[in-house]
Structure formats: structure tokens, C-alpha cells
Symmetry: C4
Subunit: 344 residues, 4 copies
Amino acid sequence: MISIRKRTFEILDIGKKQDRLSRVIDIFLVVLISLNVLSVILETLPALSDRYHGYFQAFELFSVLIFTVEYLARVWCSVEDDELKRHSPLMARIRYMLTPMALIDLIVILPFYLSMFVTVDLRFMRVLRLLRVFKLTRYSSSMTLLLQVLQRESRSIAAAMFVLFMLIIVASSLTYFAEHDAQPEAFSSIPAAMWWAIITMTTIGYGDVVPVTVMGKILAAIIGIMSLGIVALPAGLLASGFSEALRQRRRTYEKMVDQVLQDGYVDDYEQKALNQMRESLGITQEEAAHILHTNQTRKQEQDLERDLQTLRREMEAVKEDRCPHCNHTVHWLERRKDRNEDPE
Amino acid sequence: MISIRKRTFEILDIGKKQDRLSRVIDIFLVVLISLNVLSVILETLPALSDRYHGYFQAFELFSVLIFTVEYLARVWCSVEDDELKRHSPLMARIRYMLTPMALIDLIVILPFYLSMFVTVDLRFMRVLRLLRVFKLTRYSSSMTLLLQVLQRESRSIAAAMFVLFMLIIVASSLTYFAEHDAQPEAFSSIPAAMWWAIITMTTIGYGDVVPVTVMGKILAAIIGIMSLGIVALPAGLLASGFSEALRQRRRTYEKMVDQVLQDGYVDDYEQKALNQMRESLGITQEEAAHILHTNQTRKQEQDLERDLQTLRREMEAVKEDRCPHCNHTVHWLERRKDRNEDPE
Amino acid sequence: MISIRKRTFEILDIGKKQDRLSRVIDIFLVVLISLNVLSVILETLPALSDRYHGYFQAFELFSVLIFTVEYLARVWCSVEDDELKRHSPLMARIRYMLTPMALIDLIVILPFYLSMFVTVDLRFMRVLRLLRVFKLTRYSSSMTLLLQVLQRESRSIAAAMFVLFMLIIVASSLTYFAEHDAQPEAFSSIPAAMWWAIITMTTIGYGDVVPVTVMGKILAAIIGIMSLGIVALPAGLLASGFSEALRQRRRTYEKMVDQVLQDGYVDDYEQKALNQMRESLGITQEEAAHILHTNQTRKQEQDLERDLQTLRREMEAVKEDRCPHCNHTVHWLERRKDRNEDPE
Amino acid sequence: MISIRKRTFEILDIGKKQDRLSRVIDIFLVVLISLNVLSVILETLPALSDRYHGYFQAFELFSVLIFTVEYLARVWCSVEDDELKRHSPLMARIRYMLTPMALIDLIVILPFYLSMFVTVDLRFMRVLRLLRVFKLTRYSSSMTLLLQVLQRESRSIAAAMFVLFMLIIVASSLTYFAEHDAQPEAFSSIPAAMWWAIITMTTIGYGDVVPVTVMGKILAAIIGIMSLGIVALPAGLLASGFSEALRQRRRTYEKMVDQVLQDGYVDDYEQKALNQMRESLGITQEEAAHILHTNQTRKQEQDLERDLQTLRREMEAVKEDRCPHCNHTVHWLERRKDRNEDPE
């Protein structure tokens, strides 16, 4: 019984890519989630929704069934997780059920069962079904990477957001006072002016609300130019954080390659370990090959360089009558002579 | 009397977060300012403004009272400030009253008192009330950071602005000459064309003014492509300045952690000092924990590495019959032998 | 026969810029391709297309003829390529014909010959003719550079695209549910809402579809602000990858200049080698001159610095009665004195 | 006579800011140029142009007079320029007249004199008058900096432009084929579609031309997402180039401060030299003070650190009975003892 639970946990766990069955299940679930998202999207097309209503419903039923089984299996075998093992089985399962991913797993199936007993708003149910797209997070290393970056850069992004927020308030208020009389409908209140301010500051500029007074236009021009700098802040911070995180992953891999190359070549066992690391870090095969090649070349160059330097130093030392170890020439020889002359 | 003044100064001063009363007052003021800003915004919604007119007025009265007390208290105890202490009390207070933050504190309460004696334009009063949002600057480390970055990068931003300014003049003038005849209203003058030029160059593109002649479209296309580079300059400079400033703060903290870890562990007193620094630099607890952990690990690695190298060197020296200090073998031994043979 | 084939290969091969005939042919082909693209573009102008119909057709005939000859020549002499030499002539040619560039060469002439036998849709033929623009890729070092960068950064760009894709799905679905009732035409389905979402998130903001409900506007504002960061990711990654690749090219050149300057000056043979490398790396003459000058200056400075330091050390040593090699004074002198006193 | 010419050259030359008269003339010319630009702009406002027609004309006359005198003076004393001195006076003047700045100086006054003899189109004359704004380039260090950066990064910007150009051609052609039938006016030809493509790819998005077919919308979405990366390239390259150039200037100044601080303090002569360099590099006084302070602090820290290390090493050496210079203990002492025992 326990061995089945352990096996189930291994299969559902992401990352163990050597395990063929686990991989098949992963791919099956990713495809199912993607089809679910596609189905929610296509169901909104009247042409399709009318003709294939039955198919959509059948697919929804099938999906909910699978996701329910998946959810129950995950809860059941969550006690195998190393981090939850120290708790009692019940406690471990409750703790697992409260993790964000498990909550999403629950939320995306719950409305279906609820609709059996109470009437649930159809639109609300569709929104909840759409949340299934977040189940993909588990399988996407880029999504996890982005979440990491967001967490690490959270402070500076919050800072940029605070500045942006203040700028929006000031911009919308001033423009409200400038435009309210000329356009009492578009700039009916400061919250209404905020819509204009945000669409302007993000440089989207729909053109549905545009200042018409000279004062409003001057304000909009200043706000437009200022927002160029302020609005670009979160973008710049996120981009640099993202590229830094990617570089770190590459460096971690390079370090391992370096250690592996200490003895000059890569044996079968080391190759396997490198492969595993490459996959867990999400580095492409081309990139890995490039890193390996670069390191090998550099190592060979360094060896060559070292040999050459030693040779050169020894040759010069011989030429100039010096000790090749510490370059003291005259003194050693003089002393030798001194000493040689000493006994005489 | 003086001890009360000192205490008031401590309470109103930001940064001393160990002081519970100071913290409560800080939070109270931040909430009050935020509610004030919210109230100015909501008052512009006719539905709310009509129904809750009395509440808004009462809240305004209450706010002005508090802000007046705050302002007077700040001016009164400003003589306790280390930088102003060397002046006479009167001089210190005048100097304090001329600082930007004190001026804002005054401006946001003044119109209320003025309106008792003279009729002040209601709209102008609202704009001044909205300035209360800048009172938040005192409590936001991100705002202070941004102001620092703006000051440090001021030259390069001014340079980018000058280039942008020249491009706007040239772009609006040329397009004015190209479009004036076709659209005499939208491009009625160069200042009018500037509105179009700025909205185009910031890539907002409302679409309220659009060139229609072939020449105007070609000019707009060239301007659009050129502005991609020029307009991005201030954004890029600000973003890099901001992220550099954040990195510097982190480095300062890392340096302190480094010093604290010299003896290998962190005692209670050091922990307290680190906490204080962390707060004043505005670093999150997660980040601080990460930095501490990284430094500890690195220190242990370095120690291990050093021990290992010493061991390795000594072993090799022993193996090859050399002095472990400078690797001279042959000479020492030879000389020793020389000397040993000397007395013989 | 074989020598003619070798010569043809050399002429058609890019990069050998010392070869005058090869250069002339290169320029001729680049001009012809550019004129072809221009001709496809101008042919869509009714005024030109009607009046010069004959000229356009004649030019098309001439171009296809040249491109056919070029294609056949390339296939014929592809066996001279070092990478394909190890295959049999037939195999080498088939392999060459399957390379992306060879396929493009074929596709852009094929429809002309097909139209002799079957009726081909005129619009489709024009699109294929337009593909001739990609023949320029072969001659543009910047295009090859961009493709390299795209390949190297492919993973992080794919990651950013995945995040963007999820954001588009969530944004369009939520806005669909918010706006569908108010604007049943513009937001008729989620795919229709996607058009709005993409135009908003790329900050293009045409304004043809704009949310009108309060909920839709709040969603749009949040999406607009979020997309500032997410959408800038691929841009930032690409820009940093591009500038990194350019820096690497410069470094490679600097390294070569460094080696060439080891002996202090640049002779005729080295100058030629540098020129060839400069061209193949795509570095301008001004930049190359700048690099050369900087390196020369640095080298001279380093030499000077080294000489100066030696001199200074020797002078101090003499002044303070110490050995210039290791600064031991007292011991040497004392010992000398010891020794000198020894025999006495 | 020659001394007057030399003096005139000094006065007109930029950069010698110690010279009061030169400074006054500089400021006068900058103000005059700015007023000229302002006058061209304001003249297009009908209200102003009608009422103050006479003033505008008088100011134009006065400006042309001054600019003519300036131009003649610059040509006359150009022989004093160090770079032109080796030519004959006539040749030097012709060479000077062909420099870009001298050509601009000529072009902005020429139309006035031409209009005396032939009828010149008024609009064309205004455009030429507007070119006076470029006379400011001479006085703006940021403009010169930008030109330097543009020159240095010219290759990579050209590369990005080529890619952008190809993307525009492909995007406009494909969308033309998709939209031509649905919107025969907006997408009347590929050049017409290019207007849409450029406005879309620069994310301006006026909304005057918008695809309506499903195919056109899909193409526009793809183009919009792709352009996010491609279009950001020149911006990123320019921004990084600009910030790199600013950093280099700062480094140059820091290096000089370093040299000046070698002896520990800054005397009057050094202060003057630093000031001159600061001005020529365009570094603000605050920044210079910051750099000076940082370097002084670092130097003091380094001195302290060095003293401390020496002390520590000596103490340890004494403690462990070793030579403080090279850590050889046992050997020296043993040998000493050996020698001391020798005579015995």
C-alpha cells in the first residue's frame, strides 16, 4: 500500500524526467489543461458553442473527473513529501491542501460539484474554469523563474508602483481640474480622470478621452514625458532581475562543468549528472554544449599557458644565471663563492 | 520642558522604529494623509459629494486641526535636530520652516485659514489640499530613493531632455509646414503641432491629430522611429540609476554582515544592530536572511578552502622535500649539507 | 572544369572581400534583390502599375532569369564547400538544397515556372516574390548577428512569451466577461477580446475597441500596468543579448590587436590580417582605429609604469641599504658582516 | 592685428570659461538663438503674427545681422585654430567653411540675403530659419555627447535599423494582401500599408488605420508582439551607449582626482586644474564634490588598513618567532645558531 503511494507521488512529482510513466502523465495533464483553456475560449464563439454544445459538456465532465482524481491522488500521497513527512499524515495532508497550487487544483473543480446542489452564476463558473490555466505553472520553469524574480525584486517593484501611484493621483487630479468644465462627461470626477491618466501614462493612448483645453494639453504633455521615465522603472527592474536569474542558472551549471572538467575529461557518470542538472536548471542542450566546449577550451588554454610560462621562466633564469624559484642571483652565487672561498 | 520637547522630536522623527509611540503616531499620520487624498478624490463624485457633504467637511476640519498641531509641534521641537542645534532657537526654527517638507506642511493647511478671511477659489483650494499626498514622501523610503537617483542622474536626464526638446521643436515645425494647408485647424500653429509631436514621440498616439499628407506621414514615420531611441534615454538612465542605488543599499548591508560574521557567529547584540540597519536601508527580512545565509556559507567555504590549501601545500612539501614556506628545496638542503660538511 | 567550379564557388561565397569580381557580383545581387522588393512594393500603386506594366513584367522576367542562374550555380558548386566535401557530389548537392537559404532561393523563383503550367493565385505569387527580401540575409552581418542572438536567448524569450501568452488569455477572458453585455459586438467572444488585449498590452492602443464598463476599465488599467513589465521582458532580453554579442565581437578583435602589439608595432602582414578579421567581424574602420590606438597607448603606459616601478624600487633599496629583490636588509648585511668578521 | 584675431578666436571658442568676455558673448548668442527659435514658433500663431508683425521683422533683421557678423568673425579667425594652422590662411578658411557647424552658420543666414535678389518660398525660408536651433549644438555638451554615442554605436544601430526595415516591408506587404479587399482606401498600396505598419510597430497606434479582417488582425497581433523586441533594440543600444559614455567621463575625472590625492591633500593649483577638467567633462559640482570625498575617504581607509596589516603581521611574527619580512622562522634562527656555534 505504502509503496503504491510512494510510486504515485513519484509519478505526479515534476522534475524526475528519467521516469517514463511520470513523463507521460505530465504531458497528458499539460495537454488536458491546454485543451480546457482552449475549450473555455472557443465556447464563447456562438457558432461553435451552438453546434458542439454536447461535445463541450462531455469534455468538461471528463476533465473534471480527471482533475478530481488528480487532486485526490495528490492529497493522498502528499505525505510522501520530504518537507511534510515530519507531520502526522492528517496534518501533512491539511498543510498540503493549503498550499497555493493545491488550492488552485481545488477551486477549478469545486464549482462543478457545487452546481449540482445550488445554482451558480454561469459566468462566474466560466471564470473559475479559466483558472485552470494556472495549473500549467507547475510544469513551466519560466513561470517559476518569473515568480522567483518577482519575489526577489518585490521591494523595488513596490517602490516603483508607489511612485507610479502618486503620479497617477496627481496627474488625474490636476487634469480633472483643468478639463472638468470643458468635458464634464469624460472628466466627470477624479476616478474618471484616472482612467485617462493610466491609459496615457502606460502610453496605450486609446484616444477615447483626450484633453481639449490648452492647460489640459500642457499637463498631458508633461505627464506623458514624465511617465516615460517612471513607467519604465518596473519594466527595467523586472528585465534586469530576469536576465540576472537566467545568468545565475547558467553560472551554476558552468561551475559544475568546471568541477567535472578538473580531471580533463567527462566520463559517463559525470555526463549523466550534468544532464540531470541541465534539465533541472532549464538550460537547452545547445547552450550546455556551448558551455562545455568553452570550458574545455579555456582549461586547455590555461594548461598550455601555465606550461609555457614555467618554461619561459626557467629559460630566462638559466640565461641570466638566476635561481628559477625566487630570482635571487648574485647573492646566492656570491655567497656560494664566499663560502667556497671560506674554507680556503 | 526641554525633555518634553526632546520626546516630541523623537516621536515625530522617522526611523526610530523601536519606539512604539513614535510608530503609532507615524501610522496614524500616514492613514490620515491617505484618507485625505481619498476624500479629495471621492468628493469629485457628485453622488457621494451631495449625500455626504457634511461628513466631508467635518473630516476636512478634523484633518486641518491635526495637521496644524503636527506642524506647530514640528516647528517647536525642530531645535532638537542635530543639524540645527548650533543656531539660536529662533534661527533654527526659521531655517526648519524653510525646508521643502516644512513648506509643504504649511501650504496644505494655509488655504483653510485664509478662506476664513478672504474668498479663495474652491478649485485652487482643492489642488492645494491634494498636495497633502506629498506629505507621504517623509514616510516612503522608495520616494526618497527616487529623489536621490533623480539628483544623481540629473545631468544625464537634463541632457536627454535637451535632446528631446530640440527634437520636439524640429518635429513639430516641419510637420506644421507639411500639414498646415491640409489641416488648418489641427495644425493651426507650431505650438499646436507640438501637442501632436509630444503625443506621437511618447508613443501615446491618441489619434485626435493625425497627419494626412504624404509628406506629413513620411515625417511622422521618421519622427516615430527616431523617438524610439531618444525617448527611451531618460527611461534607461533612470532605471539603471534606480537599480544601481538599490544594489548599493544591499552592498552596504552585506558589508556590515561581513564584519559581523568575522568571528563566525551572530550574537544578540549584533542581531539587533543588523535589524536596525536593515530597517533604515529598507531591505526586506527575506532578503536579509538570504544575504546572511549566503555570507555564512561563503565564509565557511573560504575557511575550508584555506585549510585545505594549507594541508595540500604542506603535504606536497613533505613529499618533495621542500620548505613549506617558499618551496626552495635543493638549495636549502644543499647548503645545509654544505654547512654540515663545513665543520668536518 | 573543376577549377571553374572552384572559382564560381569563391565568387558566390560571401566574406572574401579582397576578391574584386566576387565583390562586384555581391553588389549586383544585393542591388537586384533590393530593386525586386521595390518593384513588388511599387507595383501595388495603381498609378505606376497601370502605366509601366510592361516594364514591371520585363524586370520580373530578367530577375527570375538571374536568380535561376544564381541558384543553379550555387547548387552546382556547393560540392566545393568544406562542410559538404566529405559527401558524394549528389548527396552534397541535395544536402545543400535543403539548407534554409537554398530553400528560399528556390521558393522565390518556383512560382514563376509553376505559373506556366498551372494557374497560380496572383496574390499568393506576389507574397512569394516578396520573400526575395530574405535573400538579403546572406549579405547582412547584422541579420546573422540577430539570428545568433535569437538562438542563444531563445529559452528566455520563450519563457517571456509563455508568460505573455498566459497574461493575454487571462486578460482577454476576464475583460470578455466584464464587457460582453455592454459591447456585444466588440467583445463578441474571447478570441475577439484577444485582439483588444494584444493591442492594449503592446501599448499600441488603436482605440477601435475600448472598455466602457467600470469593471472593464479597472481590468484594463491593471492589465496596462502589468503589461509594462511583462511586455518589456523580451525587449530587454533581446537588447542585452544583442549588445553582449557586439561586445564579444569587439573583444575578439581587441584580443587579436593585443597579440599583434606584443612586439610593440604593427607590420604590413599583421595589418592585412587585422583588416581581414575586422571585416569578418563587421567592425567599422573608425572603431578599429580607436581600439588599436587605445591598446597601443595602454601598452606604452604599462611599459612606462613597469620601468618606473623597477627604478623606484631600486632607488629605495639603495637608499635604505636593502636587497632590491626581496627587501631583506638587516639580515643580509648582518650576516655579511658576520661573515666578514668571521675570518678575522 | 594678429593679436586682435587671436583674441577674437579665444572669445568665440567654447570651453574657456575663465574668460569673462567669452562667457558673456556665449550667453548672448545662446539667448539670441533661443529667441530666434521662439520667434519662428510664435510667428505661426495668427494672433501674435498679425499684431506684432513689425517687431518680428525687426528682430529677424537684427538676428541676421548678428549671425552674419558672427559667421564672418569665425571664418576670419579660423586660421588661429591649432588643427588648421598648418594650412595657408585661405586654405584654412575654406576648410573651416566646409565643417558642418560652419555650414549651418551659413545656411541660416543665406536665405535672408537671397530673398533680396530672388523670390524665395516663404515656408522654405522659415524652415531654414528654424535650423538656427542647431547652432545650439556648439554650446551643449549633452548634444556633443549624444553625437559621439551615435557615432560609436552607429554599426549596431544600423544593424537594428536594417532588421526594422525588413520587418516593416514584410509586415506592410502581408497586411496589404490581407486587408486590401476589405479596406481598399486605407490599404490602397504597400506604401500606404507602410504608414500603418510603422505607426503600429512604434506602438504609437493612432487608430486612423486599423485592420478589420481576421487575417489582418492576426498579422497585426504577431507584428505587434514581434516589434516589442525589434523596436526596443535601438533604444536599448543607445541608452547603454549613453550611460557608458557618461560613466567614462566620470572615470576620467576620478582618475585625475586619484592622481591629485596621491600626496593626501589638494592644493590651490590642483584645485584649479580639477575645476577646469570638471567643466570640460561636463560634471556637476555636486558630483565632483562627491567623487573627491569618496576618493579621499577610500584613500584614508586604505592607508589605515595598510598600517593595520603591517602592525598585525609584525605582532604575529614576534609572537611566533618569525622574520616579519618573509615568514621564514626556523631556518634563519637555526642557521644563526649554526653560525654562532660555528666558531665555537
